[in-house]
């Protein structure tokens, strides 16, 4: 069975500092990896994905993530955090080998708090 671990319930960072939100995954086939953000009382917004190719992927709002196959990780990063980045962040994985039957499995979420 596939799974995603987000080891930190909350990450606190000062505005202007770099941020990292950690994610590790387990999947038997090809990992397709995603990051989403959820603001209060809103749906999930897609940030970025890794399917194949360059291990460093860039997404919306200045976020990027690095795929590391050996460590089965896909950490989300941003060079300079903004207060408006404060939200709940979810990592998700699909098994790309199973076609349309693949589930999109989410981690438990990490709350990012950016302070002045």
């Amino acid at each position: 069975a596939q799974s995603v671990a987000q080891p930190e319930d909350q990450v606190n960072v000062a505005e202007g500092n770099p941020l990292t939100v950690k994610c590790t995954y387990s999947v038997s086939g090809n990992p397709y990896l995603f990051w989403y953000v959820q603001y209060p009382n809103r749906g999930l917004q897609f940030l970025l994905k890794y399917i194949t190719g360059d291990n460093l992927v860039k997404g919306s709002y200045g976020f990027e993530a690095e795929f590391n196959k050996s460590q089965t990780s896909f950490h989300l990063k941003k060079p300079s955090a903004l207060v408006s980045d404060s939200a709940l962040y979810f990592c998700a994985v699909r098994d790309g080998s199973t076609g349309t039957a693949s589930k999109l499995t989410f981690g438990t979420g990490t709350r990012l708090q950016v302070t002045l």
């Binding site: 999930l44 897609f46 349309t100 989410f106 438990t108």
Partner: protein, 111 residues
């Protein structure tokens, strides 16, 4: 234009009632999903449909019955509502194994 829209946004109902949540996507995607987000914000897949065909049924009680009249719509009907069904239900769609796009959610409260 809203890509994935679900109605209603809020639903308050008594135990034992039957209710439906509707979802429509205008993205031309082949695959649609229902997810449940509990009070701890955990997201769990309930169902997945591809071209109107049920692909994933994630051991959800059979009081929950999805229906997909066409590939742009996936509705969720819930019979005999229980207190534990209170949650936020999200509809989503994707093209094959790409990223999923989510609706704004339906907050269901069973009293």
């Amino acid at each position: 234009d809203t890509a994935v829209s679900q109605t209603p946004k809020y639903l308050v109902t008594q135990m034992g009632n039957d209710k439906s949540i509707k979802c429509e996507q205008n993205l031309g995607h082949d695959t649609m999903y229902w997810y449940k987000q509990d009070s701890k914000k955990f997201l769990k897949i309930m169902f997945s449909y591809n071209n109107k065909e049920l692909i994933i049924n994630e051991t959800v009680p059979n009081r929950f019955s999805p229906k997909s009249p066409d590939k742009a719509h996936l509705n969720l009907h819930i019979n005999s509502l229980e207190l534990g069904d209170s949650a936020v239900y999200f509809c989503a769609s994707s093209q094959d194994v790409g990223e999923a796009f989510f609706g704004q959610g339906t907050r269901l409260t069973v009293v």
